[in-house]
C-alpha cells in the first residue's frame, strides 16, 4: 500500500547525504534519523551546544485574512481552544485542533505575523489540517500551504550565539517571539521556539537558500547536525507530546495535561469561553479533572519501556505507555503514558510488562529535565 507512494526528498537531501545521514521513511518523506555521530551524541550535543534539525516535512500554512485579522482570529478560535484573538503581532502560541468529541486532531503552532497568521502543523496531519482549515476558514481567510520553504530548527543553549552571527537581531527575541529577518536578500521567518526543551529557534527560509544557510550554521563550532532520533529523545525528556502517540483523537487536551494551552479567556467564565469543537467535554474535564492523565514514567531497571507497554497496578491493567525509550541526558529509561487520575501522583509505583515480565516503574513529574527557554 504505502510502498507504492514515492517518498518525497527534502530540499537539503544532498547535504544530509554528505553529512552521512541515515535516511528513513517518515510521514511520506525521506528523513535523516541520525548522522555519523549517532542519536546519543546528537542529543547530548544539542543539550550542551546547538543541534541543527531539518524539519521541512512539517506543514507551513499561511492564513491570509479576507476580512481583517480580528475576524480571522475569532474564526480560528472556533477550531482551536487557545486565545488566538489575544495573540499579539510578533508572538506565537501552541495550540490544538480539537474534534467534536473533545479528542485532538493535531497540535500546532500559530504565529501572529501582523498581516497574516502562520500555522505550523505535523507532517502526517498536513493534508487533513489543510482540508479542515479550508472547510471552516474560507469565508475569512485564504488558506495557503507554503511549499517552497525549508524549515530548520536550531536547538540548544548556544543557538543564540551561533544564529546571531548570521542574524544579529535574533539575540533580542525571547521565547515564542516571531520576526522576519533578511539574509542574503532572502526573508527568513524566525521563531524562538522548538521541540527539545532547550532555548532555540525555528527558521523558515526559501528552499533555494536553505543549503547555504544550513552550511553556514554547520561551519560554526557550536553547531552539529541532529536527526529525528535525537529530536524524539530530546522532546521525550522535555515531556512534550508527539501527535499520534501521546495525543490523538481519543485523548482530550485535559487528559494530556495540555490545559495550559487553553487560556482562561477560553474556559468557563472567560470572555470567549468554549465555542471550539468538543468544548463541553474539554471544559468539564478541565473543571472536574479527567478520569485519566498523561504522566511521566521512570522504569526502575535499565530496560526501556517502549510505546505500547502495558501498565499494571495491583495486578490490574491500568494504562499504556505512549512514548518510551532511553533519555541520554537523564541517563536512564524514561517514558510517558496514561493512567487513572488516582494513580497519577508522582512516586506512585506501577508495573510495566516488558517481554512478559512485570517490571517496576514509578510515576514521575514532567519534564524529566528542567527546560532552558529564554522567557
Amino acid at each position: 500500500m504505502t510502498e507504492d507512494i514515492p517518498l518525497r526528498r527534502l530540499a537539503l537531501n544532498d547535504l544530509h547525504l554528505a553529512l552521512g545521514a541515515r535516511l528513513v521513511p517518515f510521514a511520506g518523506y525521506e528523513m535523516p534519523v541520525q548522522y555519523m555521530a549517532g542519536v546519543m551524541q546528537e542529543h547530548l550535543h544539542t543539550r550542551a551546544a546547538a543541534g541543527l534539525f531539518d524539519v521541512s516535512h512539517m506543514g507551513q500554512v499561511i492564513l491570509w485574512p479576507k476580512a481583517g485579522m480580528d475576524r480571522l482570529a475569532l474564526a480560528l478560535e472556533a477550531l482551536v481552544p487557545a486565545d488566538v484573538a489575544g495573540l499579539k503581532p510578533g508572538r506565537q502560541r501552541y495550540g490544538l485542533f480539537t474534534d467534536t468529541r473533545g479528542g485532538t486532531l493535531d497540535d500546532l503552532m500559530v504565529a501572529n505575523c501582523q498581516t497574516h497568521f502562520l500555522v505550523v502543523v505535523n507532517a502526517a496531519c498536513k493534508a487533513a489540517d489543510l482540508a479542515h482549515m479550508r472547510a471552516h476558514l474560507s469565508p475569512v481567510a485564504e488558506v495557503t500551504e507554503v511549499t517552497d520553504r525549508a524549515l530548520l530548527a536550531l536547538q540548544g543553549p548556544l543557538s543564540e550565539a551561533a544564529l546571531a552571527r548570521l542574524l544579529p537581531d535574533v539575540a533580542r527575541m525571547r521565547f515564542m517571539d516571531v520576526t522576519t529577518q533578511v539574509w542574503q536578500g532572502q526573508e527568513i521567518w524566525v521563531s524562538r521556539s522548538g521541540y527539545s526543551g532547550e532555548d532555540g529557534f525555528e527558521l523558515s527560509l526559501p528552499e533555494t537558500h536553505a543549503q547555504a544557510f544550513a552550511g553556514a550554521l554547520l561551519a560554526m563550532p557550536e553547531v552539529a547536525p541532529a536527526g529525528l532520533g535525537a529530536r524524539d529523545s530530546l522532546r521525550l525528556e522535555a515531556g512534550l507530546c508527539l501527535y499520534g502517540h501521546d495525543i490523538d483523537t481519543i485523548t482530550s487536551p485535559a487528559e494530556a495535561g495540555l490545559g495550559w494551552a487553553i487560556q482562561p479567556v477560553r474556559r468557563a467564565g472567560g470572555a470567549r469561553a468554549g465555542g471550539f469543537p468538543g468544548a463541553d467535554r474539554i471544559l468539564r474535564e478541565l473543571a472536574d479533572g479527567p478520569s485519566r492523565l498523561r504522566v511521566g514514567l521512570r522504569p526502575e531497571g535499565r530496560a526501556p519501556m517502549r510505546e505500547g507497554t502495558a501498565l499494571f497496578h495491583g495486578g490490574a491493567r491500568v494504562g499504556t505507555v505512549t512514548s518510551g525509550g532511553f533519555g541520554p541526558s537523564v541517563g536512564a529509561p524514561i517514558a510517558m503514558g496514561y493512567v487513572p487520575r488516582a494513580l497519577a501522583g508522582p512516586g506512585t509505583l506501577l508495573q510495566g510488562e516488558v517481554r512478559s515480565r512485570h517490571m517496576p516503574v514509578a510515576v514521575s513529574a514532567l519534564p524529566f529535565r528542567p527546560t532552558g527557554y529564554k522567557r
Binding site: V39, M40, G229, R302, A303, P304, G325
Partner: protein, 119 residues
Amino acid sequence: MKYTEDHEWLRVEGDLVVVGITEHAATQLGDVVFVELPEVEAMVARGDEVVVIESVKAASDILAPVDGEIIEVNDALADNPRLVNDDPLGAAWFFKIRVDDLSVLDDFMDEDEYEEMIA
C-alpha cells in the same frame, strides 16, 4: 571466525562457541543502552530469541545461531551495554554455548562471504 546472516559472529573456544554481533550490526543498531542475556544452563534451539538489545531507538532480538546449552553469559554487558558499540568483536561477546558437534559451524559464512553479503 564464522558469521550468520543475522550478523552474529561465532568463534570456537575449546568445545564452546562464543557468540557476538558484528561491527556492521553494532553500527546499524546505534547506541546500545540495554542488553538482556539468557539464563546460564538454558537449552536453546537455533532461531530462539536469546538476547535482547535495546538501542536509543529500538529493541532488537539476537537469535540462537545453533542448538545447544548456554554455558556462560557476559555479565559485563548488563552494567556497560555501551561495550557493544565500543568493542563488538571482543569485550562485547554475549554468551558461550555448547553444541553437540562443532561441524554445524561449517554451514556458516567465512569473513569474505560475510563482507560480500553486507557490501
